[in-house]
């Protein structure tokens, strides 16, 4: 057990490979055996994971640290050695005959990422995990970032039509969720439900949902969840490697093209990638969703340089740009318009023809991100990390306006953000690790006066300084972690008066937040792992909660912030059981209880506000005591080597305790599953499989009458499929996948889609993907 923990704490580093024995072998009947040892202790390392790219097979080292791979053909193979979500280690080998390899791994005192990675430790265990892998991302890269996350238990998506989506985890989203884009807190207008994260998922190698003490290493919302978008380490190959991914979809006639090139050059390692996405109007089973196109482009470049054996540096730059149409029939002026929109057979202004064109109402967003990192090893077990990142987020939203004003944005904001951190990481021994960091975060958010409209949220800037420390210790069958974090935030807001003459006043708020987390993982036997974690956190109110003022488009209501809001306090207890019932069945059951004091939410007011556009309901930001509890279940069953069954299910309830009312906009219960059948490999085609997937989403049944403008949508069931095969073309791997979503062409609406008042969800969508890795 000690050894397992040790491995869990180590970043494995490939040192040298020795070819020892050669025995004659025939074509496609070659067996290789790989033994993995620790270079220092010369002990065998069980549970390391070997991935052979050519066969798409994964192998887990047995207790003696050995892998045995049969039935290989003569030829070149790319081996990747990874462990519990660590960086993949790649090596190319030309295999001619039966071979025995010794791979020794260096005890490398790299990062405390292990704690992060810990949550995804089941990734190679055929279980459902909190991680979305490279292959899954590539398969779904025509989708939005948030939609890809839906395969993680407990994660759902809030939508605003088809093109705009953002994740919600255990019922929390927006300000209560942080996305770490390549180590930087994604900096944009997270407060808006119709503001999707400005990230191209294709740049990521892993997308991980972090829970537990390790989440305290990240700025932002400790009370909710942290999502890490992690690019992979640049290849160790000397030659240029490339990948190419093309996806075409029937619904919206969408085309997505990704491409990436990388090389470990003499001077430095580099990777460049680019994505283009062009999607037109989507279609429900009955009509086109007019003006729901999406034109997206992004590019990134990544350099890695080892300045010395103990000093490594990286530089990363990415640019993301998108233009998104909003359903034409969803732009409404007042509550009568909204009432008229309900229950129409199709939305107003629905065109009979498909179009790629995007007109108003629409959004146009540009996002730049530049990051420089430097990692210096003080000793083999202690390291210092310096990271600095700058982001520029430029968001413009266009409405249908009188005169020639439609070409001027109705909302236009520019956000500059600078983030820097210094981290110290230390392994005292294989069972004890420690990391601590200092962070500084500056944000400047400015409205552009070109809009001719009073801004929904005022201009502001803020300084945040933070410090954290995380300790991890393993002892026999248990691992403990504890984390502490302190943030101080100095916020300056340019508040605009509501009455005439308009006056601008600078207001200052100072917030202090403390977070504390502790957890235990206990593994009494190979078959069961019990984890429990408690996190106490404070969250300071965001600018939109304190100062937003105005009519919220899409939902007819006036939103009013409250500058006197105090910090939101919360405690969350999470317990999970990972159970392995024999070699065929594994499942995880996770339960949580999240209690809030001074939970910030929008409360509908009894009085209607009379304006020149009619009387509007008023929603004010208020504080209350609230609770959210729920459970996620995931299960993998392998009844036969060729079959694999996966199920994910989640359930949650949110309650406003003070008012004794259910919380609104909480995901309803759902269950999704898929059955995969693996076909036999042929000489030409490998990794052939057919997957049938289904999803059932229950009706959000526990809302009281009057808590929504319109009755909650009914439950629905969706069916999909995916068929995939891989072939080798001129030595390059080519993967072809045909898949279908909503293949029954079901007409339905979803409670978490804000356009549910206006239109149905997308109908059937057939997707063809061609992916190729070349060298």
């Amino acid at each position: 057990m000690k050894l397992t923990s040790l491995i869990r704490l180590l970043s494995l580093y490939l040192c040298f490979i020795q070819m020892v024995i050669q025995v004659s072998g025939q074509n496609c009947n070659i067996t290789i055996q790989i033994s993995v040892i620790d270079q220092n202790t010369v002990q065998a390392l069980p549970l390391a994971v070997l991935h052979i790219a050519e066969t798409s097979q994964n192998y887990i080292a047995n207790e003696s640290g050995n892998f045995v791979v049969h039935s290989l053909c003569r030829g070149e193979y790319h081996l990747q050695l990874s462990h519990l979500g660590y960086e993949d280690l790649e090596q190319t080998l030309y295999i001619r005959s039966d071979t025995l390899l010794f791979i020794s791994l260096i005890y490398q005192s790299t990062v405390l990422n292990q704690i992060t990675v810990e949550v995804s430790s089941n990734d190679h265990d055929e279980r459902v995990s909190n991680t979305i892998s490279r292959n899954e991302i590539a398969q779904e890269s025509n989708k939005n970032f948030a939609d890809i996350l839906e395969n993680i238990p407990g994660v759902q998506t809030i939508r605003n039509g088809s093109g705009i989506s953002k994740p919600t985890i255990h019922g929390l989203s927006g300000n209560r969720l942080s996305i770490m884009n390549n180590g930087l807190p994604q900096s944009g207008q997270q407060w808006g439900n119709d503001h999707a994260p400005e990230i191209d998922a294709f740049v990521a190698d892993n997308i991980i949902v972090v829970r537990g003490a390790s989440s305290l290493a990240y700025p932002g919302a400790q009370s909710g969840a942290i999502i890490l978008v992690e690019p992979r380490k640049i290849t160790s190959e000397k030659k240029i490697l490339g990948s190419f991914n093309f996806i075409t979809q029937s619904n919206g006639s969408g085309q997505t093209l990704n491409t990436a090139l990388e090389q470990r050059g003499k001077f430095l390692g580099w990777r460049a990638s680019a994505t283009i996405k062009l999607i037109g109007d989507r279609k429900t089973p009955d009509y086109y969703l007019t003006n729901t196109g999406q034109h997206e482009g992004s590019a990134s470049i990544h350099f890695e340089k080892n300045l010395s054996d103990s000093w490594r540096s990286t530089m990363y730059y990415s640019y993301f740009q998108t233009e998104l149409g909003l359903l034409r029939g969803s732009q409404i002026g007042n509550i009568s318009d909204l009432e008229e929109a309900f229950g129409r057979p199709e939305p107003f202004n629905t065109s009979e023809n498909f179009s790629f064109q995007i007109a108003e109402p629409k959004q146009r967003v540009k996002h730049h991100l530049l990051k420089i990192t430097s990692k210096y090893y003080l000793t083999p077990t202690a390291s210092l990390h310096f990271n600095y990142g700058i982001q520029l987020n430029d968001r413009e939203e266009y409405d249908i306006r009188r005169g020639d004003r439609s070409s001027s944005p109705a909302l236009s904001m520019t956000q500059w953000s600078h983030f820097s951190e210094a981290i110290f990481k230390k392994f005292r021994d294989e069972n004890n690790s420690f990391s601590a960091g200092l962070q500084y975060w500056y944000i400047d958010n400015a409205n552009q006066p070109e809009t001719g409209i009073l801004p929904l949220i005022p201009d502001y800037y803020s300084y945040q300084g933070s410090a954290y420390a995380i300790f991890q210790r393993s002892k026999q069958k248990a691992e403990y972690d504890i984390g502490l974090r302190y943030d101080v935030k100095d916020l300056f807001v340019w508040s605009i008066s509501e009455s005439l003459p308009r006056e601008i006043r600078k207001v200052n708020h100072l917030f202090e937040n403390y977070s504390l987390s502790g957890g235990i993982n206990y593994t009494p036997s190979e078959a069961i792992k019990i984890s429990t974690n408690i996190i106490l956190a404070k969250r300071s109110p965001e600018v939109n909660e304190m100062y937003s003022f105005g009519l919220h488009q899409g939902v007819s209501g006036i939103e009013e912030g409250d500058p006197n809001l105090t910090e939101e306090k919360s405690a969350k207890l999470t317990t999970s059981f990972d159970i392995k019932v024999g070699p065929k069945l594994t499942f995880q059951i996770l339960g949580y209880y999240h209690r809030f004091i001074d939970f910030i939410y929008l409360e509908p007011q009894e009085e209607l506000r009379l304006t020149i556009r009619g009387a509007f309901p008023v929603f004010q930001y208020k504080q209350t005591n609230a609770e959210i509890m729920g459970s996620d279940l995931s299960l993998t069953y392998l009844p036969h080597p060729k079959f694999r069954l996966t199920l994910i299910s989640s359930w949650l309830r949110g309650k406003n305790i003070s008012r004794n009312l259910p919380l609104v906009f909480m995901p309803s219960s759902r269950i999704q599953g898929h059955i995969r059948y693996l076909f036999r490999n042929t000489e030409a085609l490998v990794d052939n499989h057919l997957t049938i997937s289904c999803r059932y989403v229950a009706r959000q049944s526990h809302l009281r009458e009057g808590q929504d403008f319109y009755p909650v949508p009914a439950d629905y069931f969706l069916l999909g499929f995916s068929a995939s095969t891989t072939m080798t073309v001129h030595g390059n791997k080519l993967q072809i996948t045909l898949s279908g979503e909503n293949i029954l062409n079901k007409k339905y609406r979803d409670y978490l889609n804000r356009l549910r008042y206006f239109a149905d969800e997308q109908g059937m969508n057939l997707i063809l993907r061609v992916g190729m890795n070349f060298n």
């Binding site: 409404i332 009568s336 600095y388 500059w416 820097s420 300056f492 600078k506 304006t611 020149i612």
Partner: protein
């Protein structure tokens, strides 16, 4: 850790207040002036909310119409939050094909309103109207300005708002008394 200081030193002055947008598009005031065809003093219905959706509550003025009388109605829309005051009705007229004003009366209000203006396609805009009152009665009149309605939809050019669609820019309700 020194880089941010470098970057921060070249950003804009934090003590400089942001520039307020010029709220030229706002409609703050609606004035519906009814002038008797046979002479006499005009009756004015108005809704004024100079500071927009928040701040002070709107000021509403309602008049009394005479029974069995013909009036010509003129609708004036203003933005009084800017200086000088801007005339929004001129903007609506200029983009006549993209706008229509609807007048809905409660059934117990004994009065008829008809359009007396047209856009370049021959459909009504609704800035000019004719009103004929009948018996003594009281009820509400709702004036609605729609942006981008479907004027060709069933009944829309006759003043029926039901199939109009578009986006509401104004919706004001007055209590009308015919005496």
């Amino acid at each position: 850790m020194f880089l941010p200081l470098l970057f921060n030193s070249c950003k804009k002055d934090e003590n400089e207040a942001p520039i307020l947008p010029n709220e030229e598009e706002l409609i703050t005031t609606l004035v519906y002036t009814l002038t008797p065809v046979d002479g006499g003093s005009s009756v004015v219905f108005s809704f004024q909310d100079s500071d927009g959706d928040g701040g002070n509550t709107p000021i509403i003025i309602e008049g009394i119409l005479a029974a069995n009388t013909e009036y010509t109605g003129a609708l004036s829309l203003l933005n009084e939050s800017v200086d000088p005051i801007s005339d929004i009705s001129a903007e609506v007229l200029e983009e006549g094909t993209m706008h229509q004003v609807f007048y809905q009366t409660e059934s117990n209000l004994d009065m008829l309103i008809a359009y007396s203006d047209t856009d370049t396609n021959g459909n009504p805009i609704g800035l000019l109207t004719t009103i004929s009152t009948a018996n003594i009665s009281t009820g509400t009149l709702t004036i609605t300005l729609r942006h981008e309605p479907t004027k060709t939809a069933n009944g829309v050019s006759a003043g029926n708002i039901e199939n109009a669609g578009g986006e509401t820019d104004i919706e004001v309700t007055f209590i009308v008394e015919i005496d």
